[in-house]
Symmetry: C2
Subunit: 338 residues, 2 copies
Amino acid sequence: MVTIYDIAKRANVSPMTVSRVINKSPLIKESTRLKVEEVIRELDYVPNKQARSLTSKETRLVALVIPDISNPFFTNIARGAEDKALQLGYHLILGNTDENPDKESQYIGMLMSAGVDGVLLVPSGEASASHVKKLVKRSIPFVYVDRIIPQVPADSISGDNLQTTRQLVQHLIALGHRKIAFINGPSSLSNVQERDQAFRETLQLAGIEPNPAYMVETHFKQDNFDEIIAKLVSLQQGERPTAILAANNFIGVNTLRALRTLQIRVPEEMAVTCFDDPDIIPDYNPFLTVAKQPAYDMGFLGMQLLIERIQSGAPASTRKIVLPSELIVRSSTGKPQE
Amino acid sequence: MVTIYDIAKRANVSPMTVSRVINKSPLIKESTRLKVEEVIRELDYVPNKQARSLTSKETRLVALVIPDISNPFFTNIARGAEDKALQLGYHLILGNTDENPDKESQYIGMLMSAGVDGVLLVPSGEASASHVKKLVKRSIPFVYVDRIIPQVPADSISGDNLQTTRQLVQHLIALGHRKIAFINGPSSLSNVQERDQAFRETLQLAGIEPNPAYMVETHFKQDNFDEIIAKLVSLQQGERPTAILAANNFIGVNTLRALRTLQIRVPEEMAVTCFDDPDIIPDYNPFLTVAKQPAYDMGFLGMQLLIERIQSGAPASTRKIVLPSELIVRSSTGKPQE
DNA sequence: CTGTTAGCGCCTTCAG
DNA sequence: CTGAAGGCGCTAACAG
């Protein structure tokens, strides 16, 4: 392994001078800088981050921990986060937790051990509180994305769950639906709670009493949707919902699938809509009406918040950014007036 | 920051003993081990990877560098790679290059600097040769996934491009197509070259002479597909292809999209098929006929190759694993006999 | 502008 | 089974 000592010897300077060149110190004579740089190139020297961060206490490594790498919503967050990080001279470690708190805990542990300067986190549930507290204790800055752990306050960036839910529900109501089922995620998640509340409120404001039989709690990345949907549509005559709101794209797509299996036509017999586009290429399969959250921006701005906090160190009051969604009306809810 | 010295003091042992406990040395008395472990828990001690790897020369960090994090094919590779890595006690850093050799070069640099023990790489083209050589020079083990750089030999795992292409082309021929266009990726990629050759050979074996006008070279994650498709379908009467083979899911989906814009019906007027499923949820949108490469397995087995090489150190001869694909016939190519 | 000294947190090596 | 000494590669903090 080539070290600054090797460079120093070859260039007839002290190791410290080499260090200064690497770190772009301005107090280096142009000529010696050029010489050192040449030797660095010759020997293919790469600085050792471990050694560096041992003294400097910073790695310029940040992490993004997401619950589902196969979901375009989260990969879009990743793209945004990465772009911003690179732009500010940081590198990104991506961790995938599968919505599993144990895996999340493992990851956080390794990230601390690897010495990341900060973490962008989409927590997988209440159980995340304990690892998040560890970050606090070690004063490693972190920012919540999409969801928060209220017990442990920190900067956050998320979609506007209230407005988005309202938008979606009102769209359905405007189409004449009054029996609207809501297949939501696990109630331990902050965004799930917000969506649940917004759903109820919007219905009530429209004079519709929420029907407990229409409120289903499930998971964001796996479940037996055939069963869930079968149960919903088998409600006695006149009770069967005419529309389903799915709390994320994964649930939305699986709902469509289950309805197809049951040979229930969408949107004629059942309207379907959900949060977030299921496809990478948004208009490849323009069928599902969705409320699209600005995932890329969430990653991008979240990373900005994080790095600001890393660099200032000054713990100002926690900031909370909420971004609006865009309703994209397509065929799965039928066209209102046409 | 809590160090082994803090633990040592609290537990009335030497730092060295603490180190031994952390590293599960068997020559530690049960009682002192328990005591040390207790203090570790009390103080929430986390070992400092930087310091550790400074002496031990290993980080138990491996990297996966992929060209497109929004493509399900690659995220499936990532899932497989991560599962295997975790199972063997390694952690994964994920890097996204956007098929951009500069970004790839940057990433490789930072990975070397971060001291990863090995790299799983989907190279973005010939230009990758230079960074890959740096890995060789520093003797950091790496394994190619999906594509290789022939100039720099190393273990590799990929799909069977010949068999897969043949399968797809023969499927089209069996349906009666003889004018088959092939929209392939950039010719600097090894898998693109293999597919190109297999395409020509399969046609020739069937007595069809490849038509240069039908061979299009484009990119795997961006291009003006409307233009490409428009050009293909505007070929003079009798020359217009009746089927399009797309070299990956991204091209496949964009082909469908462009055909829709041009109001050309699939499969009636144009059959379409491609490599790899475009959706996360395979049967959400069961339309495209595809040859599905075992992406998850490629990641999983690739990681296994990599870690074997890291641990043995012994550079045996390079291994090359080739995995078969599965042809999934759906509606975009019409149903053969029904 | 450049060099020297010391130490980051841990582990290897060699003594007990 | 446990401890002491030294060093991994780099950079602060002082000298010059």
